[in-house]
């Protein structure tokens, strides 16, 4: 009989209580219907009380004696999700996820029903990636509602949400999201392989997971796009990328990423092409400026002030005349100061934050110049480079650039402009060597894909985007096929 095997598998309340270390939250309600006993075991705080009352306890009490059997309950209990075939370990983890464990003493059989009541934040506007134009909805901490958002926005039967579990101590659900007939199988295979290799007690957030998945762990640069915007997520998925959602984390991972995808925003598609192209270049220029401007200041003032036209030189000379430090120290001081201001601004409670920003920015800035500790030209440059680092739509790229700036300043201090160029060489080689899920990081530029440049460097009117970018090797390249109005007409024709 199958009963004997089941008997060993299904623990009773006492045993569960023992496994859960006598947890005071674990409750057991014993129901007796005409001599037959049932144990309804659940965690007090994790379940929806009304559901348990209405649909489990009340339902069972109403049943006639002949229906108090395992098979009847399994088929007729008025709750959607019921687990019947499970192992002992699964019982515990299900209980901890808000399931209710119904144990029939007579048959020594049990079933699990879902009455979970997870804490959920309501869906709100995105905080770190704000769009001026376009959908404002953002992911939340709940995997269920994230999946809901995705499914609602992309109702295609080929949208796959493969389930995985990660973590030994703290088990977390993870979903790999892709479109089956678009995504290259190589990418999927590498990703799954990498996920299998991660054996850890816990993964605290999706950003940690992304760092574990990276190809080069020592790089300054993020190798996955982290986003909290569902529309950005879906846009990437539809271009043949793979997304990962982790439970309890509001940030989704998208891979494989390339360098230029960190400078595109979904807003670029929503806005008209002219403005979008312009903005995309502003972003790239701001990034380059942020990276190199202060280093140029150090190099030029220290080694080659001949470069500056004489009129400008007078202004700079005047403003620097009081400064007691060499340019290298001066720049380092100001850069560190502005990083300090930024960090303090992020940590301070929002009510004090603004005041402190004003105190820090205006008062300290003004005072250092007046005290003659820095030149006001430098204040302008440092402020510009601080702003420039935030121009990337992905926060992580901005942080990478902020860090990269310091080696450039040091190199400029050592060997002037040549030092900066050596830095550029290192950066170039580094970006060439980086890969994301085994796909080259500098993709549309090297290996050179001229058809993809329109995706990453410029933004053309939409009828140019009939094919998907080939860098992700989508299985189906044709995306759209609509003809423009016939423009073959002569001037005098109608």
């Amino acid at each position: 009989m199958t009963n004997t095997t089941n008997k060993n598998n299904c623990p009773n309340y006492k045993k569960i209580k023992y496994i859960l270390n006598q947890s005071p939250d674990l409750l057991c309600r014993t129901i007796e219907v005409a001599g037959d006993c049932l144990e309804v075991v659940f965690m007090k705080n994790l379940i929806k009380t009304e559901t348990v009352n209405e649909y489990i306890i009340k339902f069972i009490q109403q049943l006639p004696k002949k229906d108090i059997t395992y098979s009847y309950l399994m088929k007729n209990i008025p709750i959607g999700e019921v687990k019947i075939d499970f192992k002992e370990q699964e019982i515990i983890s299900s209980l901890l996820n808000g399931f209710v464990y119904i144990y029939l003493l007579k048959e020594s059989k049990a079933l699990l029903v879902n009455c979970a009541n997870p804490i959920e934040r309501s869906i709100e506007k995105a905080e770190t990636e704000s769009l001026v134009y376009g959908p404002k909805i953002s992911f939340t901490e709940s995997l269920a509602s994230n999946i809901k958002i995705i499914r609602q926005n992309l109702n295609n039967s080929n949208l796959c949400t493969d389930e995985l579990e990660i973590g030994e101590y703290v088990k977390k659900q993870l979903r790999i999201i892709y479109i089956k007939d678009l995504t290259d199988e190589d990418i999927l295979k590498t990703l799954k392989q990498k996920l299998e290799n991660i054996i850890t007690d816990d993964i605290s957030d999706s950003s940690v997971l992304a760092q574990c998945l990276e190809d080069n762990h020592y790089s300054f640069f993020p190798q996955f796009i982290m986003t909290e915007l569902p529309d950005r997520f879906l846009y990437s998925i539809l271009n043949g990328r793979v997304g990962i959602l982790l439970d309890r984390s509001p940030v989704a991972i998208i891979g494989p990423a390339n360098f230029f995808s960190f400078f595109e925003s979904t807003e670029d598609i929503y806005l008209r092409w002219s403005l979008s192209t312009f903005i995309r270049y502003i972003r790239l220029l701001a990034m380059a400026g942020s990276l190199l401007f202060t280093a140029f200041y150090v190099a030029i003032i220290t080694y080659h002030f001949e470069l500056i036209p004489s009129r400008l030189l007078i202004i700079i000379g005047q403003s620097r005349s009081q400064v007691p430090f060499p340019p290298f120290l001066e720049v380092l001081l100001m850069e560190l100061l502005i990083e300090l201001l930024r960090e303090a601004g992020a940590r301070l409670p929002s009510k004090v934050g603004q005041t402190m920003g004003i105190v820090g920015g205006i008062v300290i800035g003004q005072a250092t110049v007046e005290a003659g500790l820095t030149s006001n030209i430098l204040i302008i440059i440092v402020a510009f480079s601080a702003l420039g680092a935030f121009s990337s739509p992905i926060y992580e790229m901005g942080t990478a650039i902020r860090i990269c700036r310091f080696p450039f300043i040091i190199l400029a201090g050592i060997w002037g402009l040549n030092g900066i160029m050596v830095g550029v060489c290192v950066l170039m080689v580094h970006l060439l060597r980086l890969t994301s899920l085994n796909k080259p990081y500098l993709a549309p530029l090297y290996p050179f894909r001229i058809k993809d440049l329109k995706y990453f460097l410029i933004r053309l009117p939409h009828h140019f985007y009939m094919r998907r970018p080939v860098v992700n090797r989508p299985l189906k390249t044709l995306r759209a096929e609509w003809k423009l109005k016939n423009i073959d007409k002569d001037l005098d024709e109608f």
Binding site: Y303, H304, E306, L307, I308, P309, S310, L312, I414, W415, G416, L417, N418, G419, I420, M421, V422, V424, C425, V426, M428, V429, H430, L432, R433, L442, L445, Y446, P447, F448
Partner: protein
């Protein structure tokens, strides 16, 4: 072994050949060729371009004959293990020396344009480290460096529009008055600048579409020839005869005329950006020489690059004066001439004769 080779598209060969031809040589080239061939230097350049184009064609013929072999393997195949190894050693030494000459002449140039108080070894050290980092990424990265550095630096040509205002056409007249031996000497002296097309011998196995390579390599060498011709003619028109004869880096001096409202003395920027130009030279020569070391001594390539870099770093303390550097570069130019202008022709005929003999027997 062969399955691990990473392939690149044929058009990359254009950038590799072109960027390894353009390097330190072109900066001082107008003077060197002017000393030999006077105002008819352009004839020498065109002749040397023609010559190179012919040799590139021969190289392709040789390489197509031995599919998927690089020159090291071909040498051993043609001459046997012992003599082949001797020739390969000469080639390796040539590449190490040319890498060395690029580094020391660049550091010397950068020191003569500012940087008082910076030690020479700082520059040598920095350049070597960057090159090591690039080459340890493998051929894909080296090719990428060539490709990207071309696009980052090519715009400097357009900065030459400013010297255009002070050109004097009469300086190139009278045409064709230099004697043929002097013109041939110009061709001979141009070898250091024009060399670099020999990389084709070594990158050939990495190229995907080998049938396109003849066209692309011709395009690359002619592009280089025209670029050198352009800069030389402009220098001759720009400088007076005496100025040009005394100016060690005519191209840099000419760029110093360029200025923008926000930038004076553009040559400082150009000199620093030249790091990117020589960077591709350094990477490709280090890659090829370490490949040779691997082939001859069976040392792993990732160890070979360290050995070569350490040798270059130590020897960089020996030659620091301009005069010595010039002498050294001249020697390399001459060796390079025999090795890459004469040797491929010899190799071609020897390989033809050998294959004929083999097919007879």
């Amino acid at each position: 072994m062969k399955s691990t080779v990473s392939f690149v598209n044929a058009y990359i060969a254009f950038f590799i050949i072109h960027t390894s031809q353009i390097g330190m040589g072109i900066l001082g080239f107008p003077r060197i060729i002017y000393l030999a061939a006077k105002q008819d230097a352009w004839v020498s350049i065109l002749l040397s371009g023609l010559f190179i184009s012919l040799i590139t064609w021969i190289m392709i013929r040789i390489l197509n004959h031995y599919e998927n072999f690089n020159l090291y393997e071909i040498n051993e195949n043609v001459f046997g293990r012992f003599i082949g190894s001797i020739i390969n050693t000469v080639i390796v030494i040539y590449f190490i020396a040319s890498n060395y000459s690029i580094i020391i002449s660049y550091v010397e140039l950068s020191l003569s344009w500012g940087y008082e108080g910076v030690y020479e070894w700082v520059g040598v050290f920095a350049l070597l480290l960057v090159t090591l980092y690039a080459v340890s990424g493998g051929f894909r990265v080296v090719a990428g460096v060539c490709f990207l550095s071309f696009f980052i630096t090519v715009w400097i040509i357009f900065a030459l529009y400013q010297p255009f205002e002070s050109l004097q056409i009469t300086r190139i007249l009278p045409i064709l008055t230099t004697s043929p031996p002097e013109i041939m000497e110009g061709v001979f002296n141009s070898s250091y600048t024009m060399l670099g097309f020999e990389t084709l011998f070594f990158i050939f196995p990495f190229i995907k579409e080998k049938d396109k390579l003849l066209f692309i390599s011709q395009l690359a060498v002619w592009f280089t020839t025209l670029l050198v011709l352009f800069t030389t003619v402009i220098s001759i028109l720009f400088f007076s005869s005496k100025e040009l004869e005394k100016n060690i880096w005519p191209l840099v001096s000419m760029i110093s005329v360029v200025h923008f409202p926000f930038l004076e003395r553009f040559e400082y920027i150009a000199v620093s950006i030249w790091i990117l130009v020589i960077f591709s030279n350094l990477s490709i020569t280090l890659f090829i020489s370490s490949k040779g070391v691997k082939h001859i001594f069976h040392v792993k390539q990732k160890h070979g690059i360290w050995i070569i870099s350490i040798i270059i770093f130590i020897t960089s303390f020996f030659i620091t004066k301009r005069v010595d550097i010039n002498l050294f570069i001249n020697q390399i130019g001459h060796i390079g001439f025999y090795l890459w202008f004469v040797y491929p022709i010899l190799l071609y005929f020897i390989s033809i004769i050998k294959s004929k003999i083999l097919s007879h027997s």
